[in-house]
Every structure is written in structure tokens, then in C-alpha cells.
Subunit: 515 residues, 2 copies
Amino acid sequence: MSVDKPAPAKLKARQPRGFVDRGPADVAATERMLAVIRGSFSRYGFDPVETPFVEYTDALGKFLPDQDRPNEGVFSFQDDDEQWLSLRYDLTAPLARYVAENYDALPKPYRSYRAGYVFRNEKPGPGRFRQFMQFDADIVGAGSVAADAEICMLAADTMEALGIQRGDYVVKVNNRKVLDGFLEHLKIEGPQKLAVLRTIDKADKLDLVELQKLLGEGRRDESGDFTQGAKLGESEIDFISRNFLMGPLLDAVDGAAAYTSERTLKYLDSNRAIWPEGLDELRQIDDLLRGAGYGSDRVRIDHTVVRGLEYYTGPVYEVELTFPVTNEDGQVVRFGSVAGGGRYDGLVGRFRPEPVPATGFSIGVSRLYTALKAVKSPIVDSRNELPLVVVTAMDNKSPEFMPGYQAMVSALRQAKAADDKPLCRADLYLGSSGFNAQMKYADRRGAVCAIIQGSSERDAGTVVIKDLILGAELAAASRDVKDSAEHKAKQAEAQFSVPVEGLVEGVKTVLARHV
Amino acid sequence: MSVDKPAPAKLKARQPRGFVDRGPADVAATERMLAVIRGSFSRYGFDPVETPFVEYTDALGKFLPDQDRPNEGVFSFQDDDEQWLSLRYDLTAPLARYVAENYDALPKPYRSYRAGYVFRNEKPGPGRFRQFMQFDADIVGAGSVAADAEICMLAADTMEALGIQRGDYVVKVNNRKVLDGFLEHLKIEGPQKLAVLRTIDKADKLDLVELQKLLGEGRRDESGDFTQGAKLGESEIDFISRNFLMGPLLDAVDGAAAYTSERTLKYLDSNRAIWPEGLDELRQIDDLLRGAGYGSDRVRIDHTVVRGLEYYTGPVYEVELTFPVTNEDGQVVRFGSVAGGGRYDGLVGRFRPEPVPATGFSIGVSRLYTALKAVKSPIVDSRNELPLVVVTAMDNKSPEFMPGYQAMVSALRQAKAADDKPLCRADLYLGSSGFNAQMKYADRRGAVCAIIQGSSERDAGTVVIKDLILGAELAAASRDVKDSAEHKAKQAEAQFSVPVEGLVEGVKTVLARHV
């Protein structure tokens, strides 16, 4: 009995929580989505720009919602010179740094777009990732709300370019000056303000009674969990309910913008408050949208839009998909938000002597992908790909036969279809398994046909082409059918022999049956 | 005299060293490059897969060259649960983790590709960045050198698809079994081995005499800097010079592979060494390449190829661009390497009970971009973009006129060219500056034409279209020319008025002159 040393322990292949791998269908569909969004943003005169993933921590600032988490939600590390660096948590803070650094060289107003991953050092959960992709468009250096209106139109046009039908989405616009102005007037601030904002943010998910509990002492949900309330007094709860939870301040139906709340009209007299300015901006945005032909079925004012990021200073937007989906609990709900943004007039000015107004929005790319699958948009249809042909290597134990198989696969890769585009993707089996495993490999890869050459074909200068789709259909036929002459004729179609130099033409015959 | 509080100090907008922003031409060209590479890899039957930017530090392993740096070249940080995470330093180590984790679900051999940024915590320098993009293709689960041959062909085809002419690139193949085997035989290891490998790596940059100094006591360069040598003995220097610096071990000219060094042939008798196996693999690769029609003008054996990463175990490749460029010192040199890779049979096996062979290569995307600009590849030509039209807003002080301008820019964005593609990109000036500044903005953005409407045009229901390219030509004409009738006719062409509803047709007239 020999005493072997134990094998060294193997590493476990695993991912940090909140990070995910993405497979072929996801990657290919995302590429197509990004191309459509780029096209849409480009037509609006936006130019691409890319900033790196790593910035000085102080340049990014502290603008994430829920700052009560450790590390304030950001992944950070120290450089050799002791300075703190962070992974970007959004694409807006780095843009502000970029514009400030290159201010004189840029045309102003500066329209730009960018796509990329951002990172949040949060507790991961279902549908909540620590790395996710955003696609942003921003206009820096335009203080006019015409810029905000453009962003809303861009958002609406982009949804339709992606295959989301009119009526299945709406861009909702609010103004932080209204929201913040009212709360300031009511002297609601700090954690209490945060609790109120979170409650307003839930306006489309909970009934009024439940919302009012959240504004008051708190609420116990169906699961028994208790959420602390904002502990407002009765008159404050009434005021917020009327203005933000029960109906629009500014009703934009039929192209005529009008203030609809009496109490609001009264407060508009107070010229110390900023909300009248906020309401006036919303009215201007509404005029611009209607002037350009965007109806309230596409973009509309909605006073429940909050947006969590702390750097917003004026109009804020949210793109909501309104079609129904079934959630994890089996309930039918609206799909919900896929994009959002707003005006952030203070962000670039952190670096510059002069104030620099700016506005923009951000698409959540993974969420949008889920949405496009739900509405079966052609953009995320995997059948957009070239068909795959697998060249098997029956004699793969003998290296001297491999160059022959290699020549076949090379010929297929160089072959062109009638439109001068590539005919197909072509794969040579490079493993060491036998023929049956190779055919299984071809099936598993979703190949349309397989190419086979054993010694007898090689001697005859021929090659066998097997139509895997037709073959599978024939194999599934009943016994009676299998005895028929028609079936046998089809079998001859499903697997046939051609001279080696006729390989590409033979493959074309098979592909023509299935494309 | 009032005593004002000093304004709070502004943050400085700056980037951490070694990280860079990328402007519109760079981003757009990179998109096109990536699309071409994806197409090429896809035709070879490779599927896309993406892993996240962050991995457990131990999963990535320590395979970077020059491990004598602090942090071993990797950006790392601790998770909430104290486990160490790192930003990926290449795309190969994360792929190994991915394949090991999803081993049973993947078809094998598993062909995949991926593009993305990687991070090195190194001292940045000219052309040396801490974030850069790679584009990789790998075949996992194929031990046969037919897989290595495929990677070499893929590399060659991809260069041509990118617009690099045959003759302007070469894929050079070597085998670590040969290099490592010889050095092991000579008992050269540790820092001495590293010094020898670095010297061989410089074979195409220095003369033999200088290389031999690096193998011996050391070398002082023109600037006076001294590099410590490997301190080998005379016979070792002679051996390495003959086999690696002076000529090929395996000469692949004219399709006939043959061992050309007598001394090597003698050593081949020793069956304890691994280099005969390495040479035999190179011969097989050569046969496969010639069989598939790839001549030594495209792929060839070259014993000076080293590749720095420590995980390589067999064939290694390097894609070199051979056309001349002028470097920063004014010298004319070969462009050099843009891609490289090799076989890494041990990397997946770190996680798995069974051995898992693998091979692949990686394109340095920024370096390739520089190369494509040098050869003027159409892929990086910025004229591939849609023309830009700028709608000016002469009356931008009056919000009531903005909806009219907004309607014009919307009409242009929705306009289609004859081929049903978008006609143009269209931008509305959203700043607060006056008309002259707006025209400068249009020039600066590279607009082909500008749209103008003041009060008199508005009253008449018209709009002025100004051809900025023709306008610039006319403005540059001499005084004599300017007086001519022809010039005046052209001026009428360069700036003309149309009814508002004829805007799109008018713009088409101008664009047709310049596309």
C-alpha cells in the first residue's frame, strides 16, 4: 500500500455576489440594442465620449441615494500615492469631471452620449446587481428647459426605435423645484424628507391609504414587515396627498396646460418659494413638446416622479413601460421604469468658477433588455444570426487527416451568400471524442448542417452533407410515415454526398431550405 | 469696503494617472473595429460571452509578467465579508473561472469571444495605460494543436478583414515547450530565466552584439542607462544565440518544414526533454496552415516569440504589423505587435478535477486603432458618419419661439434619405448666446448646413438654409472672383430661402452637393 500525497485542494470557481456572466443571446441582443440607441442619440446631434471606469473619489462626489450604507455605495481603493480612487457609480459624475476638465475645447452647449458599466457597492438581491450597464445622453451648458424637452423627446423616440409601441411607454416629467420647494416650505428635511420622497416614489404601487400610513406613523405590509413612517402631522399628510398623490398639479391634457389645485394656486402668490418657477418650467416644457408634435400619450407631467439621486436641481424624468407583466409573486403589474434623469445644474460647477447648467438621462440597459424580450422586439431576436455549419473530424485520431478538414472549414468561412455577405459561420470539431459525440456537439451548438468525411468518402473525393433540421424532423416521424416512399425521398435530401469541390454549393442548398 | 467670505475652494477636475478619456472619432472608430472583429470571430463559430469586471482575487491568480511590482499589478479591494476582490487584468483568467463554473452546460470544445476593458495597477507611461481594451477568442477543451492553428488563421483573417493588407502583417508562432525546455536543460531559472526571455523578446529591436551583452554582464544604452545582464557563461550565450537569435530552429519556407540547426538535431535525441515535443507541435501547426492555404507570408514559425504571461504551456503566437512607422524619436521602425496569445492548459484545471486544455489570443484594441489610422483603413474613417445639420435659434431669448425651432429640428431628425436610412443628424442650438456665436457653434460641430429663422422669415412662413461648406469656399475666394457673376450665382446657392414646409427638401439639396 503506497502512501500518496493528497492532491492539492482545488480552487472553487465562483463569482462575487451581485456580479453575473452573460451568455451569447444576451451579449448579441445587447449589441443590437446599443446600436439602435446610438443611432437614435446620434440623430439628435449627440456625439459619443467615453470616460474611464476609475476616477478620483472626490471627483465623483457623494450623490447616491441611501447614503446610510457603509462606503456610501461605492467601490474604492487607494493608489500608490495614497489618493483614493473609486469605480464610477454612474456616468453623470464622470461626465461632469470630463466637461470641467475640457471646458474650453468643447462646443457649448455640449451634447454627448456614452454607454458603459457602472458599479454599486450594495447588498445584492434579486434583480439588483453590483455591476450594470447604463446608456446616457446629456446636454451641458444649456440652462433653458428647451434642453429638458429635447431629452424627453429623445427618450420617447428611442423607445419607439427599439420596437416599443406608442402606448406601451410614457415619459413622465416632474420638477425637483416643485417637490423640494413644497417640502422646504413645510420645513420637512433630513431623514423625514427622504421618507416622504420614498413614499411619493411608491405612488403607483400602493393605495392612498397605505401611502398615508407611510407619511404618518408607519405601515405593516402583508408579510408582517413594519416600515417606519415620516411621522408628519395630519395637515401635512393632507397637503402632500392632495398635491402629489391624488392628482396632477399641472394638467396637460388636450394641449392646454393649467394649474388644477386651488391650494397650489394660493401658494403661488408667495414669491419667496421656488415651486412657482418649477411649475412654470413644466408648463414651458409642455409647450415645447406639443409644438414638436409629442402628445401626452408619449410625454406627460407627473408629480409623483421623484428620482433618488441627490444632484438633481430642476426637471426630472422617468421612462415608464406601461404594458402588463407577471411578477415573481404571480401578480400582473406594469413593467415599470427603464430610464430616468434630470437637470443637475450644480455638478459641473463643483469644478468650475462659473455655473454650468446641465441635463440628461440614463437608460438601464439590462432592464430594457428584459422589457424588449417581454414585447418580443425584433431587436432581441436571436434568429438574426448567421446559420452555423459544423465540420466533423471523423478521423481526428490521425493528425495527417486534419489539414483536409481544415481546408473544408476554411472554404465555408470564405463563402459568400448571393448578397455578398458571409454565407455562414463554420466550426471545425477540435475535440478528441468519437463520431457520435461530434454529432451531439453539432446539435448542441444549434448547427443547421454537419459535414462528414470518413475514409471511404476521402478515397472517393467526396463529402457528406447532413441537414440536421430536416434530419430531426424525419427522425420524429411515426413508423407508418417512415415506411413511405416520400419519407425515403426526404431522407435522401437530408443526407447526401457531393464531390469535395461541391461542398459550398451543397451547403447553400441546405441553408436555402431553412432561412 | 465689504469683507466677503472667500468662495469655497473648487475641486480640481483631473484624472488618475494612466486613465484616459476617449473622444467621438476614437469611440466611433472603435465601435466599427469591434463590429468587424466580431464578424470575423463569429464566422469561425465562436460565440460571445461576457464576464464581469470584478472577480475574487484568488480566482484570477498571479500570472502577470514582472511580478516584482507592489500589488503584483492588480487593483484590489475587500468586500463586506473581508474577501479580496480584484479588477480583471486580462480576459483569460476570468474565462477560465467561467468555463470551470459552467463546465457541464457548455458544448466542448467551447469556442468563445469577448471584448472589454482590463486593468493593470502599473506605473503609467507613454502609451502605457492602466485601463485598456482587449478582444479575445479562445478554444477551451481542445488539446490538439489544430486548435492553435485555427487561432493563427483567425488572427490572420481578422487582420485582413480590418483592412490590413497581406504583407503588412505576420502571425508569428513559437512554442513555450521549446523555449522553456531549452532553458530548463541549461538549468537557467528564476530571475536569470526572466532576463534571458526579455532578451529574446528584444531580438527584433537590437543587434546581436547588444543582445549578447544582455545575456552576459549587461548593457549600457545610448542614454547611458545600464541594464543588468543575465550573466550567462560563454557557451550558454553561444547556444542561445544560435538557436533563438540567429535563425529559425524550424524553417517553414516553401511549405517544407525542416529542422535547420545541427546542434538542435543532436539535442533532439535526448528523450527526457520536452522541446522535441514542442518542435513536433510546431511542425503539425505548419502542416495545418499550409493545408488550409495559409502561406508563410501570413503565418510563420519564429523562435524569438516569448509572450510574458506565465500561464502559457505550449504554442504561443504574436501578430506583428510589419509596415514602417516613425516613432517618437524620429526613427523609422516596424509598427510591431498588436495581438498575441497561446496555449494555457493549466488555467482551467486550477478549478477542475480533470485537466482542461485551452488556447486563445487577445487583440490590443487601442494599439490596433493606432495601426489602422496609420494604414488609413476605411474602418477608422470618420467620414462614415451621417452629416450634421444645426438649427439655429435666433430668437432664443423668447421662449414662445422655441417650439417653432423645435418643430424644425424634429422634422429633420425624422427625415429619410432615398435608401430609407436617416437623412442626417440634426441639432438645435440650446444655449443663450447670440446669432454669431450660434454660427460659430455650427462650424465647430462640423455641420454641413445651418437653418436660420428670424422674425421676418417667421412672418413670411419661410426659413433660410445656409450651405456652410460652399459658404466657406466662397468666403475664401479672391476679390476679383468675388465680383464675378458666377460667384454671385454661387452665393445664391450657398444661402437660400424656402417655405417652412420645404425645409427637408431644401436640406436634401445641400447634402446632395457634399456627400
